[in-house]
């Protein structure tokens, strides 16, 4: 079954990394660019700028009029978007393959000629849009600020994961044109970017097109990525309680685990599957199905380059005390630390992981994004093919050891939400 994704990878003289993956089954092509910068490159007091910057990248560039970026792509049947994370920012479009050159023209123009098109008016509008994004996706959602609170408690003030990607409202209120300009100049050099083209294209011609559009963009030295090392494992438990306009309480627990890509982090990923993959996941089976004390319960990892988090979430059923649910959740965590899991359970999870990988890689856009992720984070795009071996190498002893190492009370942050009664009055 192993799926093998073929690709070639090279660098332009200005340092732009290029990866080509050809697949001519469907006449579409995905162009995907990762810039190795995200919210971790912001400073306290100027949070949310990486993401705000991403919005500005859709507002036209030196040779592309405002509002035309979307139009060139959507009007030919393409899809496009961008996203910002702690460690990176990506931009991507998939379109009928005969429009590949249009996509390369647009991406190269905003990589090389972003500043001439920047105006205060565009910034003002996008600031309003981003503030509304913050309201819609976080402030006006039940428990919507949970991750923000977890990050603030889990990482010290100066540590670059202390603040949320979307940024704080008060910082957005003070963002200036100069901040945006500075962000571009610091982080958007070709040498800090990686371009993947995946899908239906002619290799020889595409080499030429990449050189034509990106080759003469000026070289800028790749910025120093501050290698902030996280050393606070086991720094003691932190707890907090929040009140929100919700019907039921909820508990979040976040444990510090190693950076994305480390063996223990892959093991932690398997641990989250043991706990929450399908109806055989232990949290569902025990808390939701057998004891019927939780409405939902799951675990996930938030993989980041300097330190990751393994996060639990559980919501009690009406009438169940949050303390009782926490105790039941704790029992599940303890059993991972003290007992090895059954070989058959691990086999089931490995089977699902392998199938999940296959399902994820069905589209050229997903393959493009994975190639870039492995290239930008680990300088090894072939991990798209080999990462599965890292999962397969994990055995039941590794799981117990990793759980015993990291799932300790002194290595976690606990956030409890309680309902606010105001609404019912």
């Amino acid at each position: 079954m192993p799926l093998h994704i073929e690709f070639e990878s090279y660098q332009l003289k200005n340092g732009l990394n290029v990866i080509l993956h050809q697949d001519t089954r469907t006449p579409i092509v995905s162009v995907n660019i990762w810039y190795h910068t995200g919210s971790k490159n912001e400073k306290p007091g100027k949070t949310g700028y990486a993401h705000l910057f991403e919005h500005m990248m859709f507002q036209g560039s030196g040779h592309v009029p405002a509002d035309m970026h979307f139009q060139y792509i959507q009007s030919v049947g393409g899809t496009l978007n961008g996203s910002t994370f702690f460690d990176r920012t990506n931009y991507f479009e998939t379109l009928p393959s005969h429009y590949l050159e249009t996509a390369l023209w647009l991406e190269s123009d905003r990589m090389g000629f972003f500043l001439p098109a920047l105006t205060q008016e565009k910034l003002d509008t996008q600031l309003d849009v981003v503030k509304n994004e913050r309201r819609q996706r976080y402030e006006n959602q039940p428990y919507g600020l949970w991750l923000e609170k977890i990050l603030e408690m889990s990482f010290e003030k100066e540590f670059p994961y202390h603040w949320p990607v979307i940024g704080y409202m008060e910082d957005l209120n003070t963002a200036t044109l100069n901040d945006v300009k500075e962000f571009f100049e610091t982080w958007y050099a070709p040498s800090n970017a990686s371009l993947v083209i995946a899908g239906d294209f002619d290799k020889k011609q595409t080499h030429k097109l990449v050189e034509k559009y990106f080759g003469d963009l000026p070289y800028g030295p790749a910025p120093e990525i501050p290698g902030t090392i996280f050393s606070d494992y086991g720094r003691g438990e932190k707890r907090a309680t929040e009140v929100d306009s919700v019907q039921l309480p909820r508990i979040y627990m976040a444990y510090h685990i190693p950076p994305f890509g480390k063996t223990d982090t892959y093991t932690a990923d398997i641990i989250t599957d043991i706990l929450s993959l399908g109806k055989r996941g232990r949290l569902y089976k025990s808390l939701v199905y057998e004891q019927q004390i939780a409405q939902e319960a799951y675990a996930l990892i938030l993989p980041m380059q300097n330190a990751s988090l393994l996060i639990f979430m559980a919501t009690p059923k009406p009438g169940v005390k949050i303390e009782a649910l926490e105790n039941a959740l704790q029992e599940q965590i303890d059993s991972l630390r003290t007992e090895e899991i059954q070989a058959r359970d691990l086999q089931r999870i490995q089977n699902q992981l392998e199938a999940r990988k296959l399902r994820e890689l069905q589209t050229v856009s997903a393959r493009a994004d994975y190639l870039n992720m492995f290239s930008v984070y680990f300088n090894d795009p072939d991990l798209i093919n080999t990462e599965i071996e890292k999962y397969k190498a994990i055995n039941t002893t590794d799981i117990k050891r990793t759980a015993a190492t990291y799932l300790q009370n002194n290595n976690r942050t606990v956030l409890t939400y309680l309902p606010d009664d105001k609404e019912k009055k």
Partner: protein, 453 residues
């Protein structure tokens, strides 16, 4: 390399793309089977659609179809809930059963090498469910708890209230899950009755897409579905629809909201309406994609919102036209007025040729991206069956979209958009939004439970 970057690149030569050919055959019990072979990945998508839906729920027992779906995987004559989960998950099969307003869907995606094992479980769930009382009670409580929490989520709450006002007095007015009262009224016998009446092979279609050939599809269908007992094909009720009388605002007061959820609309069109293609383009230009007038106005010009959109959706009878946005509270009334302005404008002047080209290009050009995976192809086939479309639907679709003219779109806008009958539902904090809204509209205020206050 010297060249003019102001010059938009010329496209290359397009490569044709067609919706995949598909096969059809029938079992002796009347089950229709469709198959599209897509051998690129070792995965098979299996969709079984039952052409019944929550409109068939008995009065006061709304939510029966939904509960039935929840119970397929909770016990059969041969397997209990945990055995079903273990067999599906060990073979890395993804299964879900759910109902929308058009059909009941049992969907599975499995590895082609595990197809036989997975189909054994699948057909057992379909043909031998026993609806254990204990599982029913557990799931009933889960659904009731989810219903309790709707008020936490302003977007969901507002959409539900919009639908409630639009379809007042009809089954559609209630969520698919039913109401708190109706959910409690449903007994195991009610679920069994619904099952006996609707889950018959003549009322179903089985769809395979992926790494599976005709021979395997026939063998598997015969092996696992030939024993499915025939029964009379049920008929579903005819419906009467009424447009809202006049434009007015229903304000759901949710104190402390940091934004306003806005929904606007009225009844749309029937799926079989010959103006379907013109309406598809009309919607695209009004609010269907990023370049649409509503998005460019509310987001890119005014910055009132992060996201907005419009959709005509389809269900038996008349589906809704549904315009939605999450807007900054202070600009709630202004945002609603801007939407009305866009609707009046698109009804009074022809759209530009450029707008038509852009929207047409988006809809027709998106075609290959929309059918890249086996799951997407299976979904396309179910659309053909459930919307009663001809087999060549996807082969003629792009031509029919391309044949729509600016005049057609103006005519459709005048026929199907009614700015004077616009149902406007907002969920937000009345302290911030009520006054502005009252300056322009008739406003009624409700609490989050939908009671007038």
């Amino acid at each position: 390399m010297e060249f003019n970057r102001f010059q938009t690149p010329q496209p290359g030569i397009p490569r044709p793309f067609h919706f995949p050919d598909f096969d059809r055959f029938y079992l002796r019990n009347g089950l229709e089977v469709l198959l599209a072979e897509r051998p690129d990945f070792p995965l098979v998508s299996v969709n079984l659609c039952i052409k019944s839906y929550p409109l068939a729920d008995t009065e006061h027992k709304e939510g029966t179809a939904n509960l039935l779906c929840e119970l397929f995987s909770e016990g059969t004559k041969k397997r209990n809930s945990e055995q079903i989960a273990e067999e599906l998950e060990f073979t890395a099969s993804q299964f879900s059963a759910h109902t929308d307003w058009n059909a009941i869907h049992l969907d599975m995606n499995t590895l082609s090498r595990n197809l036989d094992t997975a189909m054994d479980v699948f057909s057992d769930m379909l043909q031998n469910p026993i609806f254990p009382e204990a599982e029913l009670e557990r799931i009933r409580q889960e659904i009731l708890t989810d219903r309790l929490r709707i008020v936490d989520n302003p977007a969901k709450l507002n959409s539900e209230q919009f639908i409630r006002f639009l379809y007042h007095g009809m089954r559609y007015a209630l969520p698919i899950e039913g109401s708190n009262t109706s959910i409690q009224n449903i007994s195991r016998a009610d679920i069994q009755t619904f099952y006996n009446r609707h889950l018959v092979p003549g009322n179903a279609v089985l769809i395979f897409a992926g790494k599976i050939n005709r021979e395997t599809a026939e063998t598997v269908s015969e092996k696992y579905f030939a024993s499915w007992e025939e029964g009379p094909v049920p008929s579903l009720p005819d419906l009467d629809f009424q447009q809202p009388q006049k434009t007015r605002v229903h304000l759901i007061h949710k104190p402390g909201s940091s934004q306003t959820e806005l929904r606007m609309g009225h009844l749309g069109i029937e799926r079989k309406n010959p103006d379907y293609y013109a309406v598809t383009l009309l919607n695209e230009i009004l609010g269907g994609y990023f370049l649409s007038r509503i998005n460019m106005n509310l987001r890119e010009e005014h910055g009132y919102t992060y996201g907005s959109g419009s959709a005509f959706s389809y269900r038996p009878g008349m589906g809704p036209l549904h315009i939605s946005a999450a807007v900054q509270s202070e600009h709630t009334a202004q945002a609603a007025l801007e939407v009305l302005k866009e609707i009046s404008k698109i009804r009074s002047e022809e759209i530009s040729e450029k707008e038509l080209q852009n929207a047409r290009g988006q809809i027709t050009g998106l075609f290959p991206i929309a059918f890249e995976t086996a799951d997407q192809v299976a979904l396309g086939l179910s659309n053909i069956v459930l919307s009663q479309l001809p087999d060549d639907y996807y082969n003629t679709y792009r031509n029919k979209i391309s044949a729509v003219t600016r005049e057609d779109i103006l005519e459709s806008a005048q026929k199907y958009l009614h700015p004077d009958k616009m149902l406007i539902v907002v969920t937000g904090d009345r302290a911030i939004i009520e006054k502005d809204l009252k300056d322009t509209f008739d406003v009624t205020v409700y609490d989050v439970q939908g009671n007038e206050i």
